[in-house]
Amino acid sequence: MIERLAMPNALKHTLPCQLTAIAALAQDIERWGDETGLSAKLVFELNLMLDELITNIIEHGYAEVDKGTIEVSAENDAGLIVLVVRDNAAPFNLLDLSEPDLESDIEEREIGGLGVHFVRLLADSVQYRREADANIVTIRKSVNATLSQEDE
């Protein structure tokens, strides 16, 4: 389900709560990124954040129910990318999760929390709020602040 907003720099995409639906969102974000002039690197980072957030929502938030939808909007506001992910699952603030272990040897290494770590690392800011019966996560990222420009 794809709906273009009147504003050319904005995208709205609604997903069913199925992991297989994420690839179609990624394609849509790629198309939107092309239209609004974003680099392939930035589009990749936006898609990684969305994928990790939505996978969390589907596997945890919607784990007890087999239906529900997730609404994603993306907007390029003069170089500030704003992504909003909204679901109607039980209250869940992923920012409550602790930082993962990035140092220990392979035997002790755990995978939990890595997805949220990517979101924290790649976003300029991440906010969570519960509004009526919705979880709303807002990610902001400046077009000029991709990680690649800092480490390459």
Binding site: A23, D51, E59, I106, I111, G115, H117, F118, L147
Partner: protein
């Protein structure tokens, strides 16, 4: 997402293509588990055709690393493209695994 599995000598080479995410990683995990259960102890992930990996994909790579460590096996990663490399870098995984520029070098490192 397609996952090619090939054997050279006694090395299993997994070559996933496209996206390795929460939707596709269970299939790689299933193939990997079958391979390890069959006694394979030398393994290469060739990521030359991989466009995208998320933490769900990393989880399977870590699982392989843990299991092979237990049985004194060997694991190497090959052909990481820029986006995939960035995800490995952000996770601190580049320090955990042997990373080779291409398949031939990876095969040497598990020989």
């Amino acid at each position: 997402m397609t996952i090619h599995l090939e054997h050279r000598d006694s090395v299993a080479i997994f070559r996933p293509t496209g996206r390795l995410d929460s939707a596709s990683s269970p299939e790689l995990e299933r193939m990997l588990t079958a391979e390890l259960d069959a006694g394979t102890s030398r393994l290469v992930f060739d990521f030359a055709d991989l466009d995208y990996i998320s933490s769900a994909g990393l989880r399977v790579v870590l699982l392989a690393g843990k299991k092979l460590r237990t049985c004194q096996g060997k694991l190497a990663l090959a052909g990481l493209r820029e986006n995939v490399r960035e995800v490995f870098s952000m996770s601190g995984f580049l320090a955990l695994f042997a990373v080779a520029p291409n398949l031939e070098e990876a095969l040497k490192s598990v020989a």
